[in-house]
Symmetry: C2
Subunit: 296 residues, 2 copies
């Protein structure tokens, strides 16, 4: 079949890198859209593509529309069937929704897409910016398996691993759980290193011992040295961490489960936002747990 027309909505660093990767793999990027029009224009110039001026224009230009927006509200904004939105003239289109948002919103979007004669699947990303650029994302997929199969050439160009987890909403649940556990481990690591520092221990030695023992974790590898060095350039922001832990804690409340560690991690990330540290990387949580760093 001829190369399909692809559009990307939401051109943060993840969305922009996915566009770059797909262009490199010779996909036809028919339209780029972001509420920050200048971001869309700049990327369109870079990739010899076109910056769409409206969501309806995106849908008109593409067969597959990849959405990579920030949160529930942004997701509802682009799919709300009033004013300019992606569902205008959407019959036959396939939406691939990458954002980490509430499971419920994925279900709403899928229902709205069906009413418009379109299809929608979830493709939650459990990786970061570098992986988006290299096409080495880990994707958690959910939705109608027939539609998921149809998106395979695109998703295979973006990822090295794909895991199908069930009907729409399931990927968002799994992703919320992944990030909830990751955020707990990150907050706990920041406490361990912060206390080690307060005790006058050599933190490089302490991290090496953590790595050899029951304290080892993926976040020790990705964030431990950054916590020690106060290197918090953003790959995954504290604000995003708060959002994702918030989704998980809300799911727990709906299930009448009390999860004190998840709640404590959520409170710490919310405290970072309150203190104006929300745009630091998630490793910035160590600013709260080391003596004399962030004045409380």
């Amino acid at each position: 079949m001829p190369s399909p027309n692809i559009a990307i909505v939401g051109l943060g660093r993840m969305g922009a890198n996915m566009a770059r990767r797909l262009a490199e793999k010779s996909f036809h990027i028919a339209a780029l859209y972001d509420v920050r029009r200048e971001a869309a224009a700049a990327l369109a110039a870079e990739l010899h593509s076109r910056a769409a001026q409206s969501l309806a224009e995106v849908t008109a230009a593409a067969d597959f529309i990849l959405t990579v927006v920030t949160d529930d509200q942004a997701m509802r904004d682009i799919f709300t069937p009033s004013g300019d939105n992606l569902l205008v003239g959407a019959a036959g289109r396939t939406f691939i929704n990458f954002a980490t948002i509430s499971p419920q919103v994925h279900l709403e979007v899928e229902a709205a897409a069906h009413r418009a004669g379109a299809a929608a699947i979830e493709a939650c990303m459990a990786s970061s910016i570098a992986q988006a650029r290299q096409g080495s994302l880990y994707l958690i997929l959910a939705g109608d398996p027939v539609v998921v199969e149809r998106t395979a050439p695109i998703l295979e160009s973006l990822s090295t691993a794909r895991r199908y987890v069930g009907p729409t909403g399931r990927a968002a649940q799994v992703k919320a759980l992944v990030n909830m556990v990751m955020n707990i481990n990150t907050a706990g690591l920041a406490e361990g290193l912060g206390l080690g520092d307060a005790l006058g221990l050599d933190l490089t030695m302490l991290r090496e011992i953590f790595s050899q023992t029951g304290a080892n974790s993926r976040v020790l590898e990705t964030d431990g040295a950054d916590m020690q060095a106060r290197e918090h350039e953003c790959y995954f922001s504290a604000a995003h961490a708060a959002k994702d832990s918030g989704i998980a804690v809300a799911l727990a409340k709906e299930s009448a489960l009390h999860l004190p560690l998840a709640e404590a991690a959520l409170s710490q990330y919310q405290l970072m936002i309150t203190k104006g540290l929300g745009e630091l990387d998630k490793s910035g949580i160590a600013e709260l747990t080391f003596k004399g760093r962030c004045i409380l």
Copy 2:
């Protein structure tokens, strides 16, 4: 030099397995002691060794005395210089103290040993029962480096890795931090799996996704399947987890640090004790976070 006489005090599963390992490596086990006299007698029969009837008898029989007791109180009991204790006639003896206890108690014991003309070092174990039997412990060492060097043949028979971290008290600090972070990760994992279960997700799939993403951790490998299967045979008890997190939280308080995740994990392990679950393995914390398991 001739093989030194070794004694072991505290014959729980760790201490007993260390004795078995050293006997297998042809060390001369001159005395075995436990407050549970029948445990000492049984192990002495197994290893063709001798069950000491008093602590003074242990010290009289051995050059190197390995202590593997449960907590601060037990450690003070064996070293308190009144009544029967290990410091009677201890001149020239070397104590190797393996218990995970407060740093302060290690300093007290070292000072008391010095007054008795003896030496003492810390050898904290960041591994479990199987590793003790196989001689593949990970040891965190602290104390006078000359004394540590003297214990090398014994410690090398018990371990595959040894890390020297500084003067007495430092190993206990590092060990408290290792277990504090491990306990946080364990409590957080139990919450992630508990919520996944409440949402009706396939937990084997969820664990596999955790292992590929930022949610990965050593405790996912060691405890994840056990949490799912409710398999809580004790390798490291919830009561021990509470003790170790308690040591770390006390150190944080002395440093005027607020560590909400460590405190939440400590509360969960204390709750297990309150509910009569303290002798379950630490993975048993999942009994608190899965719907319909432990009635709250």
